[in-house]
């Protein structure tokens, strides 16, 4: 396992720039998610790390050594694809042992390590089975075992959970996490599902249109998004235009007080943002940062109720208790906790 550094990594396809000057450092043993909508360049980046695709410019370093001229088969960056998981003409054991066979390791040794690895992915005794006899989840685990058995310098997973149903997803997610922890393998996985990224990854690299938007620990994407777009991707569309003057924001619905140690935007035009789950619907008397909003819609969500509001021309979503009831058109008072107000740059 090694650290991975991407330096100004760029890839163009004709006139399209799929990945644009990407800079990223992945620590040894870290589990990183490449997150973004499809076509954002995350899989392209993954392929460049494996060497299956050559960058147009930029560099890739494993343990601070450039591997840009090293061919795929010598990099030790093993990729697990989302489709066509197993070699159909080989047994499960042959699949798992493939990488070891390529290294020229003795047959008994291969068998021993294959059995060991099948044990680890909870498929003991499956070595003689044919690939097509396994379920989707089992195939996924065999593919994982096949990658892990060669002790890759970096493990690359392309949408590893995309083709599994909900129960299997959970199981697989835990398996990946636990094995990754146990073996300490530097791992990068690609996903378009922000929840999956948050639950699995140590750090998330969010990409839009080939450009890295934010590279951070998961909770930062909720509490400290860098842009409106990042906030939107993490389901926060509650925005309110205002002007910062020190600890006070002037808005159309009145003054709001902020925690100056928390926010990063300087004085001037800003967008105020509070996550739906952070907005207080039952302000106590004397609370500051109270604003008026008109109810547009209420949707019962089982565990809570979701209310759509009009805040000075912006549409906000807030979460209330499941039993809460308001009438559409009613004016209600919201409280925005000082420590939960985050400021975004305008546009």
């Amino acid at each position: 396992m090694s650290s991975v550094v991407l330096r100004d990594l760029t890839r163009r396809f004709g006139s399209v720039t799929a990945v644009d000057r990407l800079n990223l450092e992945i620590e040894s043993g870290e589990l990183v998610a490449f997150l973004g909508p499809s076509g954002c360049g995350k899989t392209t980046t993954l392929r460049m790390i494996t060497g299956l695709l050559l960058p147009t410019s930029g560099d890739i370093l494993f343990d601070n050594k450039s591997i840009i001229t090293v061919p795929t088969e010598k990099r030790g960056a093993v990729m697990v694809f989302q489709k066509h998981l197993l070699f159909p003409t080989m047994s499960v054991g042959q699949n798992v042992g493939f990488g070891l066979k390529m290294q020229g390791i003795a047959k008994q040794e291969i068998e021993r390590r294959v059995d060991e690895m099948l044990e680890l992915v909870k498929l003991p005794g499956f070595a003689k089975r044919r690939a097509h006899e396994l379920s989707g989840g089992q195939q996924q685990r065999v593919a994982l075992a096949r990658a892990l058995v060669v002790r890759p310098t970096v493990l690359l997973l392309d949408e590893p959970l995309a083709n599994l149903d909900a129960n299997l997803r959970l199981e697989m997610r835990e398996l990946i996490r636990s094995i990754q922890r146990e073996l300490g393998i530097t791992t990068v996985f690609v996903t378009h599902d922000q929840e999956e990224a948050v639950m699995l990854a140590d750090r998330i690299a969010l990409m839009f249109d080939g450009v890295l938007q934010q590279y951070d620990v998961p909770h930062s994407f909720y509490q400290r998004p860098k842009t409106v777009r990042v906030a939107h991707f993490f389901r926060n569309d509650n925005l309110l235009a205002g002007v910062r003057r020190g600890e006070v924001i002037e808005t159309a619905v009145g003054q709001l007080r902020i925690d100056p140690t928390h926010v990063t935007q300087p004085d001037g035009k800003v967008l105020v943002s509070v996550r739906p789950e952070d907005v207080q619907l039952t302000p106590k008397l004397g609370d500051s940062n109270c604003i008026e909003a008109k109810v547009l819609l209420q949707v019962y969500m089982g565990t809570h109720t979701q209310i759509q509001l009009d805040v000075a021309g912006h549409t906000w979503l807030v979460h209330g208790p499941a039993e809460w009831h308001v009438n559409v058109g009613e004016m209600i008072t919201l409280q925005l906790p000082q420590a939960r107000i985050w400021l975004l740059p305008t546009a």
Binding site: T50, E73, K74, F87
Partner: protein
């Protein structure tokens, strides 16, 4: 129960494949078979004796046809496989033009194309040679190889090869352990196709081979215009023998690997 059903189906297939050539078989042993007799009234091994004589040139034609078809199949693979892969998996300028051009030898009547090719071959000194005949057979064979194999490649994709690369397999090992085993059933079917296309070529062989190379169709086809059905039947049985073997072989392959059926999608 399931096994019994399988046997019924198997026997059914055998009957259906043998039925069309059964009358040929009877004809080839007939001396006199006039309407409305159900079977020949006089039997004879004369047609087969004729087939065995050097005069019939059946042995010579068979050997030449076999040698040509084998060489043509090998070259179809060598040329068609990389082309099929490129067409299936890569985008490049003029790809649709290449795809269209590939269809041309299948659409254009053979005789029209062959006349032009004949003149070119004369200028290149390729007529009346074994190589020349093989080359002219390649013209209708390669498109079939490319069309079948490009769908096989498209079906198979590159993910497995890429997986193998990242697992430490060099290009040769990828070819040996992943690509070839994966496309093998499709490749077998495509090779059978090209073999049979070459096997059945007549006018191209006549023009380019110039009578120096005698193939089985050149021996057989005149008999179809003749009136001696018994001899025609004996020669045609020898002519269809490889086709029946190929049919048997490919149907087994098709039964085993349903993925190969993908190869017919584009035909």
């Amino acid at each position: 129960m399931k096994k019994a059903l399988r046997w019924v189906i198997l026997i059914g297939i055998v009957i259906v494949s043998i039925a069309p050539i059964l009358p040929q078989f009877i004809w080839s042993f007939s001396h006199r078979w006039l309407f409305p007799a159900l079977l020949p009234t006089t039997w004879s091994t004369e047609p087969w004796e004729y087939v065995m004589t050097p005069s019939s040139r059946v042995g010579e034609g068979f050997a030449n046809s076999l040698a040509i078809a084998v060489v043509v199949s090998i070259f179809s693979i060598l040329v068609g496989l990389p082309a099929a892969r490129a067409l299936a998996l890569h985008d490049f300028r003029g790809k649709s033009a290449v795809e269209w051009l590939l269809m041309v030898p299948i659409i254009v009547p053979g005789i029209v194309a062959t006349m032009g090719i004949h003149q070119v071959f004369i200028r290149l000194n390729l007529t009346d040679t074994f190589i020349g005949v093989c080359l002219v057979h390649l013209i209708p064979c390669i498109p079939y190889m490319v069309l079948v194999m490009s769908s096989v490649f498209a079906n198979y994709g590159t993910d497995l090869e890429d997986t193998a690369r990242t697992l430490g397999a060099g290009p040769l090992n990828v070819l040996r352990y992943v690509t070839l085993p994966g496309i093998l059933p499709g490749l077998l079917v495509a090779t059978m196709f090209t073999f049979l296309i070459s096997w059945g070529q007549y006018i191209t062989t006549v023009l380019i081979g110039g009578g120096v190379i005698i193939t089985l169709p050149m021996v057989l086809f005149p008999f179809i215009s003749g009136t001696n059905y018994a001899t025609a039947a004996a020669v045609s049985l020898i002519f269809v023998a490889p086709a029946v073997l190929v049919l048997f072989f490919t149907s087994r392959q098709l039964g085993r690997e349903s993925s190969v059926m993908g190869g017919f999608g584009r035909l």
